[in-house]
Symmetry: C2
Subunit: 392 residues, 2 copies
């Protein structure tokens, strides 16, 4: 217990092309260095209002209940599941990726029963399977992953899924961690009851305050619970006092993280949400074309490709970990390997928010190509970089 | 859902002398504007190690299990209670302030039974009452508040309390939200099993990553639970994988908040923890002497006075809200009113971390005096400011 001697903070300067966090714009970093006001200061109340308005715009919703949860993405996820699922109720979750498993774990801890709708890792859910699962299990809550960070798969046909759920009087929770602000997402038009996200993906905001939106129908369920949710910290009926009209103390909000989220969301409004989706598709499209031209294979079929998270099959002759470490050591570029069923099989390359820039993609494709070649893979680096250049 | 038009972030420049957040040092703000590395980056793992080492120093502990929880102070509080209290177990909580009530609420949500040891708001617990409560209820877990932010009371005789608990084979959880880094706290010497805190009080760090420490005995209980804790996000047996030797992914840590906490804790190490306690006592002592010389009364008896949170009785002839609003509007100074049983009866004036500076205290006492006089209270402003000047 002697005084520790710890030096000034001097982290390396990375280019973040993994599954999150993504590169943060200097304006957002500057917002984080703004001196604090109190969490009950009238000036902060105004900042809260503005942040909520900007969040609604990004989610494409008019939901009053649109707030940043005071924690990282898994906190907004547990706020959604832990408040919606009451003890004894049944939640239907998908098996086609890592985050469906996390949904199941959270639902059980909330006191719920879990039933599953199956699809292989790397494929989306089939609406017919969802309908069958509803007919068989009559779940109260249905969770699905709009953008699966573990597999690089985008779930299409969301309105079809929500319609099946509503025909069975169930509530829909959508995991939009890797889609909000980067991939088309229309909470109101698609009739999603609850959607949550993380700030450090396509919003390019440091993690710590995480978007959540609930429609009135979902919030009525939360406010009408027979017993309180199992977390005090994440209890939305209590948070209602702070983020609602009353502005009463619940807990100290992460003030600086709200500053940063507000600034990140200002970028979304400045660019325009649809233009932002287009940019992600275009820039990530060049990345995808580049790695394919190099001779690599995407894990997801083209029609389910998720621009914000590109799952690329690890080619023969190399091990994922060595490539990832080499990219970090030699190029200061972060990408990640696979999780769960896809562990060792894929690279996960993010193309999110401020990281979804032509310069980043050129650099990444060329660095990845060189590294793979050095490690012994049979890749055509020149074809890859040329394709990127022509696509961008 | 039109594009919202939200201007640049321009909050007012406040002097924060309320119950938290406190003023943040420019060096910590600068740390928050540092570009991010990934939460699994080897460089971040080193930053985690350093932060843990610095936290141990501040807590005066060798506990391996010393981490920042990814949320604000109430998250570290719920991590402590939700992991230690198992369904069917009994937790003993105090009734002498706002935060004992929150402990009770969290314990019930964890599936526990709650029993109480009474003391009036504004007084500490009497060890004899604690002993009687143990003999009567034989609780499994005992929670107490070391520094009650709602009443300005410091709990003395902590070793006596922990000894009673351990004689009854119970675990002790100490709320150190408003003491860590500002008021004498010795986790190991005092035999506290679990202690939690917030960063935005005496550490003067923006909220978002909150200190928690558990000794091996407490961690063994957590790792030996029959059923998992009711929150996935705050499950310490899962966090063990990330903050322990394995460094495996659990959730995305709030990287920037960890940067800031590390920098705040570097200040603690530079100043020296005991010197820091002394500074808080001296600077807050001048504040206390000043308000008393002005004719105001402290709510807590001198022997239980909490330097970091000064509860001052609202004098006759004024209403607390009008004074607080006037201080904010005319002086940009934040203080707060009372909560619960003391609502309307006290002002809560913080003197924490970087806010515990002579300049802040001079300014606050003079601004408070002027404001009270304007609002019709019979106070001797000159005596107050003179006393502060001579004490500092």
């Amino acid at each position: 217990m002697d005084r520790p001697e710890v030096d000034e903070l001097t982290p390396p300067d990375r280019t973040l092309m993994g599954p999150g966090p993504s590169d943060v714009h200097p304006r957002v970093l500057r917002a984080m260095s703004t001196p604090l006001v109190g969490h009950l200061d009238p000036a902060f109340v105004e900042i809260m209002d503005e942040t909520q308005e900007l969040l609604r715009y990004a989610f494409r919703t008019d939901n009053q209940w649109t707030i940043p949860v005071s924690g990282t993405g898994s906190a907004s996820m547990e706020a959604a599941i832990g408040n919606l699922v009451e003890p004894g109720e049944t939640m239907l979750v998908p098996t086609n990726g890592y985050f469906g498993g996390r949904m199941a774990d959270m639902a059980r801890r909330a006191g719920g029963e879990v039933v599953e709708v199956d699809a292989p890792w790397g494929e989306p859910l089939d609406p017919a399977d969802v309908k069958n699962a509803f007919d068989e299990h009559q779940p109260d809550v249905f969770g699905f992953v709009h953008a699966e960070t573990s597999t690089g798969v985008r779930q299409p046909s969301v309105p079809e899924l929500t319609s099946i759920a509503h025909d069975h009087d169930a509530y829909v929770i959508a995991d939009c961690v890797t889609s909000l602000g980067g991939v088309e997402l229309r909470v109101d038009d698609w009739d999603v009851d609850v959607a949550y996200s993380g700030p450090q993906k396509c919003l390019s905001c440091p993690p710590g305050a995480s978007p959540l939106t609930l429609n009135d129908r979902a919030m009525d369920k939360v406010l009408g619970r027979e017993e309180p949710s199992r977390s005090w910290y994440l209890d939305l009926s209590l948070l209602e006092g702070y983020w609602g009209d009353e502005r009463a103390y619940h807990h100290t909000a992460p003030i600086t993280n709200v500053y940063a989220l507000r600034e990140s969301l200002r970028f979304v409004a400045e660019e325009g949400i649809e233009q932002r989706w287009d940019r992600h598709r275009d820039v990530a499209g060049a990345l995808k074309a580049g790695v394919e031209a190099m001779g690599l294979e995407m894990n997801a079929a083209d029609e389910f490709w998720l621009p914000s998270l590109n799952a690329v099959r690890v080619p023969d002759g190399v091990t994922d970990g060595a490539v990832i470490e080499s990219l970090l050591a030699n190029y200061d570029v972060e990408i990640a390997g696979g999780l769960g069923d896809l562990s060792g099989d894929i690279f996960r390359i993010g193309c999110m928010g401020h990281s979804a820039r032509p310069g980043n993609v050129s650099f990444l494709v060329s660095a990845l190509g060189e590294t793979l070649r050095e490690q012994g893979a049979d890749v055509d680096v020149g074809a890859g970089t040329e394709t990127v250049a022509s696509e961008l």
